[in-house]
Structure formats: structure tokens, C-alpha cells
């Protein structure tokens, strides 16, 4: 479904992504792992069209995404839930969710999706008129995911949903992510929390300073000694 081929991305002179290639197939939950600064967020931003690659191809069902503006990419069903959640703090829960659906015309379907989101995250329904800034971290994350879901994603990209959240909350979030996966949503999950990610992912890619260091099914990676070294000893490099 989604294919990245040899993406080269620069921030000014800094070579952020050095020939990254990856694939996401329909219905899969693929995870991108890696330490800070490895290029995970850059990858997602490139897919979303916020950053343009200097070289390489980003195709989604044979459509070249690098030729589209970010708004257009969202219309194709590729929606990102960004790092740090970035909900609209001065808007209330309902308005945040409505903003996710703002490009959609089918009123009834939107209403159904709203119900769907409230079923996934009952807490949001209780806070429906509260402004985003007053929500807790976990609730904000749920709101962010809900907002992204309102855009009717065919490919949902999540950037570090566990960031800054208490372990119990993280578990809840990941349960929902798994639920979505089971409901058939294709998911690209970026995570530093490798353990949690590998527990629910079908396949994983490990990014290291802008390159794909390892890739394979979650099972393969779990037993991979290199991965252990990476997390335990590799950082000292």
C-alpha cells in the first residue's frame, strides 16, 4: 500500500534520512523503532508531505505522494497523529474531533465515526465540552488519536503515542491501537518504547541515524541479538 524507496531528506546541510526504504501493506501494523534523532519523525513528516525528500519515491497505491501538498495527502486517507499530540488546546473535545473531519462531506458517516471514537475512548464523551488544554496527558493522546480517526484514515500514522505517559495509560492506549488493528485499520507506528511496539506489531523497522538498520517481523526482531546490543550497548557509540 505505502512504499518508501531510498528517501534522502536534508534539513539544510544536515543529512537526516540516508536512503530509507520501507513498506506497509494493507491491514498491517508496522512499527518504526529507533532512538531519538534517528529520523523516525522525519520519516512520518516526509510521508505527510510536510517535508520534501531530495531524492527517492513515496508512493501510496501507485500515487506519487511527493507531488502532493499535505492537505491533499490527508484526503487520500493518510493521516498522522503527530509527536507530542498537538491537540488544539483552546478548542474543546468536540471541536477537536470535528476538525479531524473538516474535509469530509458525508454527514451521516461522520456521525457514525464520532460514535465509533467515543466507543473506543469513553472518557472523551464525558469531557466533550472541555477545552483540550484541561485534559490530562493520556486523555489528550486519546483525543489526538480520535481526531486522526475522524479524518477517516486508510493509513493511520502514530508518532510516539506513549511519550510522557504513565505506564498504565500507555497500556490502555496500546490496547486501543491493537483494537484498531483488529478492526482492520492499517497502522504505521513510530515508537521509542520498543517492547510495547513489538508486542503488537506485525513487522518492524529499526532506524539508526537516518538509515534502516534492521527490518523484519516482530518475532524475528525480538530474537535478534543486534537489537539487544543496540538498546543495551549500542547507544554508547
Amino acid at each position: 500500500m505505502l512504499k518508501l524507496e531510498n528517501i534522502e531528506v536534508y534539513y539544510g546541510h544536515v543529512h537526516a534520512l540516508k536512503g530509507v526504504s520501507l513498506e506497509v501493506h494493507e491491514g498491517e501494523l508496522v512499527s518504526i523503532l529507533g532512538a531519538n534523532g534517528a529520523g523516525k519523525t522525519t520519516t512520518l513528516m516526509t510521508i505527510s508531505g510536510i517535508i520534501r525528500p531530495r531524492k527517492g519515491m513515496v508512493t501510496y497505491q501507485n500515487i506519487d505522494l511527493t507531488k502532493l501538498i499535505p492537505e491533499g495527502i490527508v484526503l487520500h486517507g493518510i493521516v498522522q497523529c503527530p509527536e507530542g499530540r498537538r491537540i488544539f488546546g483552546s478548542l474543546n473535545v468536540m471541536e477537536n474531533l470535528r476538525m479531524g473531519a473538516v474535509r469530509r462531506k458525508e454527514r451521516d458517516e461522520v456521525k457514525n465515526d464520532l460514535e465509533w471514537v467515543f466507543n473506543l475512548f469513553p472518557v472523551l464523551k464525558t469531557r466533550i465540552h472541555q477545552t483540550g488544554a484541561t485534559l490530562s496527558g493520556g486523555e489528550q493522546q486519546m483525543l489526538a488519536i480520535g481526531r486522526a480517526l475522524m479524518a477517516k484514515p486508510r493509513l493511520l500514522m502514530l508518532d510516539e503515542p506513549s511519550l510522557g505517559l504513565a505506564p498504565l495509560v500507555v497500556q490502555e492506549i496500546f490496547k486501543v491501537i491493537q483494537q484498531l488493528h483488529q478492526q482492520g485499520v492499517t497502522i504505521l507506528l513510530v515508537e521509542q518504547n520498543a517492547r510495547q511496539a513489538m508486542a503488537i506489531a506485525d513487522r518492524c523497522y529499526l532506524l539508526e541515524t537516518g538509515q534502516v538498520a534492521l527490518s523484519g517481523t516482530a518475532a524475528e526482531l525480538k530474537s535478534n541479538i543486534a537489537l539487544e546490543q543496540f538498546y543495551l550497548g549500542g547507544m554508547a557509540k
Binding site: 510536510i50 492537505e71 498537538r86 488544539f88 488546546g89 478548542l91 470535528r98 476538525m99 473538516v102
Partner: protein
């Protein structure tokens, strides 16, 4: 003429203050909208008043009845604002704040000198119809009709705007973009359309202010936009830049402050009234660096 009782005097001054405040508020909203979304301080906003007023003037000279000419003037302001956005501001979107500020400076110099070139630098009378500029008498109370009209028009527009901002998707999108541009793009919000809407509404409001302002003052000239936009800035800054309710609040506070100072200051100090207003602004910024409704987080030095 019988002299006024204290109450009547206060009412007269209050109407004066609220009327001027209304005009400042409407101007400030346009500025705040654009700043909130683009982080751009649009100095040229004042010149939209000039464009609208001159358009109205020429339409009336061409024989068009005032009503239609006024609508034409407002439309001209709106159009100029949109052209401004497309030609001068969109290409530099994402540039540093300073660059955008300076560009708006350049745009205002451009428009003002164009005005001087095309229309004479000398002022011309504004053809306001009688009902816009007649004195209404309530006993000893004398009120200018334009003041009442300004207050009413502003009230209606503010209600409409509030509805737009809070109840419609377009308005909510504007609030979203103002809050977090990146997140808005990731949700697929069409930011070009939001920018255009903000500029359009702001410019139309400037056009309305133009008609009322010119009716109040009675004459127009190419540099007429300078003081209004400066005042609108002050109003916006008082309330907190980028905040729409702040702009409205700031506008009315400024209007009241001006009239208050005019009354309180001893006569040898009244010409310095504007200096006092700015002085008070600077003092305000000392305590509230982000305006009244802005965040109270101070820069820690």
C-alpha cells in the same frame, strides 16, 4: 442651549467613547485575525480604510447612490486585502517575523504613495449622506448619529463574528490554525482557504470602519490610515495580540481611555493625550507583557 446635567454629560461622553471604541475594536479584530494565523503585523491594514473611502468617494462622484457606493467601497477594501495577501504575504509565509513585519511596512509605503500619486495629497470631503452625520437632540443631549450607527453596526458585526468563529467549521478552522499550524495541516485543513478567509473578513471590516470613520471625520486623504492602524495595534496589544476577544476588549478600553484622558487632563496637557495613551500602554506592557488576555507567563530575565 440648556447646559447639561452631569449624567447627560457622562452619557454623551460614554457614547463617544463606545463609538470610537467600536471602530477601534473592528479594526483590531482584522489585525488580530491575521496575526493569530500568520504571525504577521499588517501595517497596511490601515490603508484598506483609505482604499475603501476613496472608492466610495469616486463611486458617489460617478453618480452611484451612497448606499451602493459604500458597499462598493467595502468590497474594494476586501479585494485589496486579498490581493495584498496573494502578492505580498503568501510568498513570504514561513519567513521570520521581522521579515513579515517589514514587508507589511513596505506594502503600506507602497499604498500610501500610490494614493498620493493617484489622488491628491490634499484631503477631500467625504460625501456622507445626512443621516450619517446629523446631530440628534435628546433634550440638552447632543449625539451625532454616526456614533449611534457605529455602535449598532459594530454590535451586529461582533455578534455575527462570534457566531462564525464558534459555530461554523470555517471559523473553528481559523481558531485551530491560529493555535497550531502544523497540526492543522496534518488534519487536512485547507490553510490557504483559512488565510484567505481571515484576510477577507479583516479587510471587509476595515472597509466598514473606513466608511464610518470618514463619515465621522468628514474628509479623507491618502495618509488617513496611519493613525487608525496604530490605534488598532495598541488596542490589539492591550488585549493581547492574536486574541479576538482581546482585540475587542482592547478596542473599547482604548476608546474609553482616550475620552477619559481628554476629560481628565488639564487643558494644557490635552494635546499630549496620545502621548499619555502610549505611555499607559508601555506601563501596561510592563506588568502584562502579553496584553490583558494574553498569557501571563513573563519572560524571566
Amino acid at each position: 442651549m440648556t447646559s447639561l446635567t452631569l449624567i447627560e454629560f457622562l452619557i454623551q461622553q460614554a457614547i463617544n467613547a463606545i463609538s470610537i471604541g467600536s471602530l477601534y475594536a473592528l479594526m483590531a479584530i482584522g489585525l488580530a485575525m491575521v496575526y493569530g494565523i500568520l504571525r504577521l503585523i499588517n501595517f497596511a491594514h490601515g490603508d484598506l480604510i483609505m482604499v475603501g473611502s476613496y472608492a466610495t468617494l469616486f463611486l458617489t462622484i460617478a453618480g452611484v447612490p451612497f448606499w451602493i457606493a459604500a458597499v462598493g467601497g467595502i468590497a474594494a477594501s476586501g479585494l485589496t486585502g486579498l490581493i495584498m495577501e496573494r502578492v505580498a504575504y503568501r510568498p513570504i509565509r514561513g519567513a521570520q517575523d521581522v521579515s513579515m513585519l517589514l514587508t507589511s511596512f513596505a506594502v503600506t509605503i507602497f499604498l500610501e504613495n500610490m494614493g498620493i500619486l493617484l489622488f491628491n495629497p490634499t484631503s477631500r470631503p467625504f460625501p456622507a449622506p445626512d443621516f450619517l452625520n446629523s446631530a440628534l437632540n435628546f433634550g440638552a443631549l447632543r449625539v451625532n448619529s454616526v456614533d449611534i450607527i457605529a455602535i449598532v453596526v459594530a454590535g451586529i458585526l461582533l455578534v455575527l463574528l462570534t457566531f462564525f468563529i464558534t459555530r461554523t467549521d470555517a471559523g473553528t478552522s481559523m481558531r485551530a490554525v491560529s493555535q497550531d499550524l502544523l497540526a492543522s495541516r496534518l488534519m487536512g485543513i485547507n490553510i490557504n482557504r483559512v488565510f484567505v478567509t481571515a484576510f477577507g473578513i479583516g479587510s471587509l471590516l476595515a472597509g466598514v470602519v473606513g466608511i464610518l470613520w470618514s463619515a465621522r471625520v468628514g474628509k479623507i486623504d491618502p495618509l488617513m490610515g496611519f493613525y487608525p492602524v496604530l490605534k488598532a495595534f495598541v488596542a490589539s496589544v492591550i488585549g493581547g495580540l492574536g486574541s479576538l476577544p482581546g482585540a475587542v476588549l482592547g478596542g473599547y478600553i482604548l476608546g474609553i481611555l482616550e475620552i477619559l484622558l481628554q476629560g481628565i487632563l488639564p487643558s494644557f496637557l490635552t494635546p499630549f493625550r496620545d502621548a499619555f495613551v502610549f505611555g499607559i500602554l508601555i506601563i501596561l506592557l510592563l506588568f502584562r507583557p502579553n496584553g490583558l488576555l494574553g498569557s501571563t507567563e513573563k519572560e524571566k530575565f
